[in-house]
């Protein structure tokens, strides 16, 4: 693979890792290079990004590399966050709400597992907004709190009961391959 290709791949890897950062070891695994060589590539990228994408920068913390916005544009990022945006629930809160509504009652740890990130704040927000409430404790070590949706949740989304939530993962029934196979088989038998 050419050096150029390594650079492109690293751009993509750094991007998808986002705030979590990319571990040198993992990057090396993907590129099939030694960690030393990979680090070399990452440092090269760090340099070239300065000219090519001045709005972003590559930061290095020990063996972890992270793509972040450049210091110079910080005021604009803040302006975006504070901008007069329509009052809406954050992505985090919405995801968490979806998970709770389809899996209630559910513990926070289970939610974290599904989301892959801590959801404490999101759960708190939802409780604040009275969309979610506590619902006893699970029979598990530490007896963690269970959460469920509230009446206000139904009211807000204008559904009369939880059964009215669109079925999760309900694929329209496709005549299965099994059926088709059966069909063939019988046809053959007939002949």
């Amino acid at each position: 693979m050419s050096e150029e290709n390594y650079q492109h791949i690293l751009q993509g890897l750094l991007y998808v890792c986002g705030d979590e950062g990319l571990e040198l070891q993992d990057a090396a695994g993907v590129l099939d290079l030694t960690e030393q060589e990979t680090k070399q590539q990452l440092l090269l990228l760090q340099q070239s990004m300065k000219d090519d994408v001045p709005g972003l920068q590559v930061q290095c913390f020990g063996t972890r590399f992270q793509l972040v916005t450049a210091d110079s544009i910080a005021p604009y990022i803040e302006k975006l966050a504070e901008g007069p945006r329509q009052a809406k629930l954050s992505q985090a809160a919405l995801e968490t709400l979806a998970i709770i509504s389809y899996n209630q009652p559910i513990t926070r740890i289970e939610i974290d597992d599904i989301r892959g990130v801590k959801s404490e704040r999101a759960v708190q927000t939802l409780i604040h907004k009275a969309l979610v409430q506590e619902s006893g404790r699970a029979q598990a070590p530490g007896r963690p709190i269970l959460y469920k949706t509230t009446e206000r949740f139904l009211e807000h989304f204008n559904i009369s009961s939880l059964e009215e939530l669109p079925a999760l993962g309900a694929e329209p029934e496709e005549p299965s391959t099994e059926e088709a196979d059966l069909f063939f088989k019988e046809l053959e038998d007939e002949n």
């Binding site: 329509q86 709400l97 989301r115 669109p166 019988e186 002949n191």
Partner: protein, 251 residues
């Protein structure tokens, strides 16, 4: 029966089936040989019935429509072909033709959508880093007016589509290297002390695709060599897998 044993695209309905028959007969959609197509259509529906495949009532409605068109076409023209001969007589097939043409357009559009779907499949994005939760807290108890069920579903879909960096990769690679022979051996030893057999599904401990395929091929191979026996008491019952008795293996 030969002509029915062509590949069965699982049909999306009577129109889909008709399109298939028309295409197969290599006839023009604007000039359907109704008698021939009707016969084939009925045969199809009949076979499906015999197989007790669940036939939507739409198929039967279409069968009736076809028969009606067929009989109309058999009726002799009413007037003498006089001066009025050029007044176009309504073709009894007209309505069906336009339905077929209309449906075909969308069937084709669906194919293009599928291509576009695949095109975008390899593009990944990170999750948002916006700290919206802080703003959210400012509004405390208020729920945004315009929040809909749809927003929640949208968020959930995004979650499902997000790249998960957390999952360690090592296990996956290990799974891929199992050969059919390896799997045959391990299935046999797994069965060795299981007199009562095991369920078919137990042979697929890994959800990983390649491992499942290898396992399946291994089962087929073992069956071929009569080293294992698979029994299914009834349709849709659990398939049980047994190790074949020693003496039978020798034969």
């Amino acid at each position: 029966m030969e002509r029915y044993s062509v590949q069965i695209d699982t049909f999306q309905g009577p129109l889909d089936l008709l399109l298939h028959l028309i295409q197969q007969a290599e006839v023009d959609i604007y000039n359907i040989p109704v008698a021939e197509i009707t016969e084939q259509y009925l045969h199809y529906v009949q076979t499906m019935q015999e197989l007790e495949l669940d036939i939507a009532s739409e198929y039967l409605v279409m069968a009736a429509t076809l028969l009606e068109i067929k009989s109309q076409m058999l009726l002799p023209g009413e007037e003498d072909p006089g001066e009025d001969a050029f007044v176009e007589e309504e073709d009894p097939r007209q309505e069906l033709m336009s339905r077929l043409v209309e449906y075909k357009k969308y069937k084709e559009a669906a194919v293009e959508l599928r291509e576009k779907e695949q095109e975008g499949a390899g593009r990944y994005a990170k999750g948002s880093s916006m700290d919206e939760e802080a703003i959210e807290e400012k509004y405390a108890a208020a729920v945004p007016e315009n929040l809909s069920l749809f927003d929640m579903l949208d968020a959930y879909q995004k979650l499902k589509e997000r790249v998960r960096y957390h999952t360690p990769k090592e296990t996956k690679i290990k799974g891929g290297e199992v050969t059919i022979e390896d799997r045959m051996t391990s299935i046999l030893s797994f069965l060795e002390d299981k007199q009562n057999g095991i369920t078919f599904i137990e042979l697929f401990p890994s959800g990983e695709r390649s491992h499942m395929v290898v396992s399946f091929l291994a089962v087929l191979e073992l069956m071929k060599h009569k080293q294992i026996t698979c029994v299914q008491e009834e349709n849709f019952e659990e398939i049980m897998v047994y190790q074949t008795e020693e003496e039978l293996v020798g034969e």
